[in-house]
């Protein structure tokens, strides 16, 4: 099962390649646009234009179809009302503090469907899990006055810490719960995001 570490690594590779490609294109353009063309006949016809338009459409739609098929948590999100949870973890946030239902670290079994429900009693916060190498497992917003529910299935073993991923004033800028969750029973060690 694809983990978020693998997706992040893929993003880094793909976007870096794109960035260098587009910078080279503009660089090449800047060089050539100052030169007198050999012929004024041009390949830049409306047909080329409409082909380009078509490519934009395909890319714009294709990216979401791609992620739907490759990233497992998109389907968890869209079907969250239908997937039964194996374990529910209810967390409250108030006064810039996370209140956990039991002693941390909370143990989670590999492959279990966990439903996180985080409720804020005052401000808007965020709820994000991070690996020991600081890369993100996932996050969501915690909007007050609503249930903020997220389904997740862990496929990597390790201990994860929690940060508030939304700003809740200067008092909330360091909100952290170290070693909040411990996932056990996977044959896969904690994924590294790719930098180590």
């Amino acid at each position: 099962m694809t983990t978020s570490a693998e997706v992040l690594f893929a993003l880094k590779v793909v976007y870096t390649i794109y960035a260098f490609a587009i910078m080279s294109l503009i660089g090449w353009f800047a060089y050539r646009v100052t030169k007198k063309p050999e012929t004024y006949k041009t390949w830049l016809t409306p047909k080329v234009f409409y082909t380009y338009l078509g490519i934009l459409v395909v890319v714009g739609v294709g990216i979401h179809i791609l992620t739907y098929n490759k990233i497992p948590w998109v389907a968890w999100e869209l079907k969250k009302h239908k997937i039964p949870a194996d374990k529910e973890i209810n967390i409250t946030v108030k006064n810039h503090e996370f209140i956990f239902p039991e002693q941390t670290p909370i143990n989670i079994k590999c492959g279990e469907v966990v439903k996180f429900n985080v409720v804020s009693e005052d401000l808007t916060y965020g709820f994000g899990l991070f690996r020991p190498d600081h890369s993100m497992v996932f996050q969501m917003q915690v909007v007050p006055g609503h249930n903020n529910e997220l389904l997740w299935q862990f496929h990597e073993e390790g201990t994860f810490y929690v940060l508030s991923t939304e700003y809740s004033g200067p008092k909330g800028a360091r909100m952290k719960v170290p070693e909040a969750f411990k996932v056990v029973g996977c044959n896969k060690q904690v994924s590294m995001e790719g930098r180590k």
Binding site: L11, T34, I63, V74, Q141, H146
Partner: protein, 553 residues
Amino acid sequence: MSIKDILINGNNGGLDHEGLSPLQKITLRFVVVGLIFYGVAAIEGMLMRGQEITPLPFIDDSHFFAIMTVHPIVGIFGSTYLLVFGAFLFLVPYLMKKPIFSIGLANFTWIIMSVGTVLVWLSGFVYHYAPLYTIYWPLPADFTQFSVVGAVMFVVGIAFIMIGTLAFIVNIYGTVFYTPKGQKKQPIKPLLMSAFGIDGFLNIVNKIRGKEPYVKEPPLSLPIVAIFRGTVDTFLDALVILGAGLLILFFIGNHVFQWGLHYHSVDALLYKNIFWWGLDLIADGLVLIYVAGTWYLLAMLITGRNLFMQNIARAALLLELIVSWAVWSHHLLSDQPQPEIMKLASGEMITAFELITQGLAFFITLTTLWLARPLKMTNELKFLLGGLLGFALAVPAGIIQADLGMNRILHNTQWVAGAHFHVAILVGLTMTLYSAIYILFPILTNNSVKLFSQRLANWHFWLHLLGGIGMGAFMGMAGIDGMLRRHVYTEGEFLGYMILAGICGAMILAAWFIFMFNIIATIGLKGLIGIFKPSQLKKDVIVPETAAAVQKG
């Protein structure tokens, strides 16, 4: 001549401010003040960059986030809005060849917006009011963390800025529609058809049906159409921001006079939806539309030709306007109570249209330039290409994060702040504006000055471009590695990236100093001050006759 001499008198005698028309002067005022606020924002940015590397002794958490709150306000409203408004208040009369609707109103606009920006800045500097520009409910009304006076100052400052914005809008629409004394009255209908791009659309339809074009020469030129269209979004978002200000003001009253209302009586999610609907009219609305319009104008001025595929461009501007009203959910993809259908339709699918409209503008502009080869690599062309590159980098980054799967691991990370919007603003938007400044400079100064140093202009270009892309790249990589954008890290978790981003930030700031030095050495401090003195010429002069003749001849 000594450096001091040059700074005071300018290059070759500097700017002849006495020959400037009222309109030219006002435009230059907008530009000067906008450039100064840009510097303020850049210095604030650099303070934050420093703080992310090692905590600075004079900045604690509440001060740090106060800087983070005012930085975008000074940058976007104090700088970008002023630069854009100034340019458009000149361009609309200049391109339509009729006097501006009201000189007085234009003067009022830059003054009240500057005062508003300074008030917001003071609310941060003095009172550390720091709800960030996102003001997620109920944070702006959390008076256990913030002072009441700071909040009032912030709201009043924002209100001033929005009042100035409304004054600008009145002036633009006034100029497009009013009939100057002594001229024949223009019918409104074709103007409106043109303003909304309906004539361009009908032209395409007629072409497909094999008929004559609906209009051969639309009454409004393409840049005017873009300005008009973008101004619709500018208006709507000003209303939303004013509304948010009133709500905060109400809760300030509630707190001070104990009316007994709890802040939970406002639904945080509904508030967030309305807020992002309004704010996205800036980022994904007027910015994209104004920028596209400016690219088209620049491409036409640089090449002296008509735009490639101009009817498509007109229609695309209309599409962009409508799209901008319906994309806001891409800011709520990680908000779990937000309905899934909104996330999919507004957040993913309609947002994808922005790739199309922006991609078209990119292609049309480049092709127009390409068909006019060979071109000289002037400052305006250089900066225009920089601006195009900025959006070519930042728009795909935006499209990537506008995806349910990707947003789960990118939202509120440094990726959004770096790879996406700082590249969009610093490289895409700001370089486009520099290009416009360079091309308008001779027109605004009646060709009375010569740039002090082309070498310095090149330094400015390269430092800004590489600094901007570099900062975006290192922040972006830190974001991919998990670094949040509004969290205080204390254990050096991302130190390497932050040092690199800091170096790039310093390049951007240095670029601004170089540019300002070059400009002051060009027009001279005397000329600079002269801009703020009343003009000797008549109010309805756009560009003095003699100067206009020189430009043509």
